[in-house]
């Protein structure tokens, strides 16, 4: 007989099967001699166990009894967590993220210092009628100081014949 059928017989004997399945098993036990013998044997064992098992009384209420067990389990679990963990291992839990943050901050500060625009300093003056605009291109690491002529002639978009700063540029081929 298969093991699962043996378990079915045992469950039937203990009244653990649903009604329909219990009826099927009962019919099968009535037909099959081997099943019938097994059921009889298990029934005898059950009766013997039921009669001879010593009744264990905890001597205290059920709730109190189980709460004691629960507290004991919790206490042992706490001891197990703490036991064998050195102090530096416990601190590492807090120090590791702090060290990571510090390292990240250092990297950021260094990156900003390296890639930041050059320091524009205390001295900067431009002749009257001109304005200096400073800007920095991070990609090319180039700083540009654009000198804008704000004289009335320039503002009116009239070509200035001889701007003060204009270098002696060569005459373009098209002008020659």
């Amino acid at each position: 007989m298969k093991h699962d059928l043996q378990l079915k017989v045992q469950a039937w004997l203990d009244g653990e099967l649903p009604d329909r399945e219990a009826r099927q098993i009962a019919e099968w036990i009535a037909r099959d001699a081997e099943a019938s013998a097994l059921a009889a044997e298990l029934g005898c064992i059950k009766k013997a166990m039921f009669r001879n098992e010593a009744a264990a009384a905890p001597g205290e209420s059920r709730e109190f009894y189980w709460s004691k067990i629960e507290r004991q389990i919790q206490r042992e679990a706490g001891l197990r967590r703490g036991a064998g963990t050195p102090w530096y291992a416990r601190w590492r839990r807090y120090l590791a993220p702090a060290a990571g943050v510090a390292a990240l901050a250092c990297v950021l500060v260094m990156a900003v210092r390296q890639n930041g625009p050059p320091t524009f300093d205390e001295i900067s003056s431009t002749i009257d009628g001109m304005e200096a605009v400073t800007f920095h291109d991070q990609t090319s690491q180039m700083t540009v100081v654009w000198l804008q002529d704000n004289t009335p002639a320039s503002a009116a978009n009239i070509p200035v014949q001889d701007p003060v700063l204009s270098p002696d540029r060569p005459v373009p081929v098209s002008d020659m």
Partner: protein, 151 residues
Amino acid sequence: MRSAASLLLSACLLAASAASAADMNLEARLVWGTNDEKGGPDCKPVDAELSANLHRMFKWKNYFEITNQVADIPENKTRDLKMSDRCTLRIKNLGGSRVEINCIGEGKEVHKRADTLLPHTWLVLGGNDKNNTAWFIGLRSDAAGKVISKN
């Protein structure tokens, strides 16, 4: 006697190296930005690096180099770099990569500033010129103290 001489020689070498370390090797280029295809007879296209940087930031199609000046400026000393007949840069080495730049146009102080010149990075002064063109003066230092070859 021999040891004293070698000591003196070492001191001189140390002093010389310290002095050269404080020197600033500086390059200044006058560049003309235009939409014309060709520059004048005495100018040539700007090298690829500076040209790319200028193209990234400005609208002009072509950039021609007119003047290229190189100067070795000791600390706390001033040098005049003549960029054109009408434009001169007066540069003082303030030490520690810092310079004072005085842009002089026709004898007038047009713009004066102090900057930190980071190695191999361009500081560009620029402005509009007539006929929708622009002028630029690019400045950079060579931190290693090597002489920047003149193009």
